[in-house]
Symmetry: C2
Subunit: 150 residues, 2 copies
């Protein structure tokens, strides 16, 4: 990683309007990454990035994240082949989140369950209880086969 | 708040495929909320919700969040009038994020800077440094006027 990030400015106006990208990593060194499909804007996943993942993403053009559950850097698609080529990166007003517009290779699937998007369920209330309902059950690949060696 | 949420199941398959909405709040009691415009899918903001905000959102149909900087529950638009009517809520595979598709009232603006979206800047690299460039500078309202009483 050769690209580094300056510390966020104390001045709010500078953070919101200045020319520098100064991501506000949280106490764990992470920022939130929202990932949509550059093709049609569909929300594919939400993940986290540390400085190394963000730097590698900017330098290579392929999305890298930091896996909190596996506690390691993670090049998206390294197992499944569903690499994400980054078409555009945006940041929000207080620079604690980034938005990646990506093109997905491989099976055109982002979720480890084999679905196109991780957001395959709607949330609702029925009989006073919060429920989910599956709205997309199309599997683009078989997870048992793809992740067999992991 | 009358709606409560059961604890997430230990079983991963149940979490990913079961009928219950069991949000996985982090150690601060928060989950990530991604908010898009139901009209055209534009990403408007990323925020956080605690159980109370999530419950109120499901019960009232208006988006509520938890402000980490102000350390309090927050009905979006309570100052600016830019209320968000929730058209659909989704959750992701491991239920630690929700996606709200909303219709924005008032000025049709979500960012406190007066812009439609908080993601008004692109990120890039120039001369070895990470930079931002403003891609949307249209202000739908004047923040100094709208938030004058706050």
């Amino acid at each position: 990683m050769t690209l580094t990030f300056a510390s966020p400015p104390q001045d709010k106006a500078e953070l919101e309007s200045g020319p520098a990208f100064t991501p506000r990593f949280d106490e764990k060194g992470l920022i939130t990454a929202v990932v949509t499909d550059a093709r049609d804007g569909e929300l594919l996943m939400v993940a986290h990035m540390n400085a190394e993942a963000l730097s590698l993403t900017l330098e290579t053009g392929f999305a890298h994240y930091y896996s909190r559950s596996r506690d390691r850097l993670w090049k998206k698609g390294e197992s499944s082949g569903n690499l994400q080529t980054v078409r555009e990166i945006r940041t929000d007003c207080d620079q604690d989140a980034v938005w990646l517009k990506v093109s997905v290779a491989g099976h055109d699937a982002t979720c480890h369950t084999g679905r196109r998007s991780c957001f395959y369920r709607t949330v609702g209330v029925a009989d006073g209880e919060a429920k989910v309902a599956i709205t997309d059950d199309h599997r683009h690949f078989d997870p048992a086969q793809i992740y067999a060696g992991n």
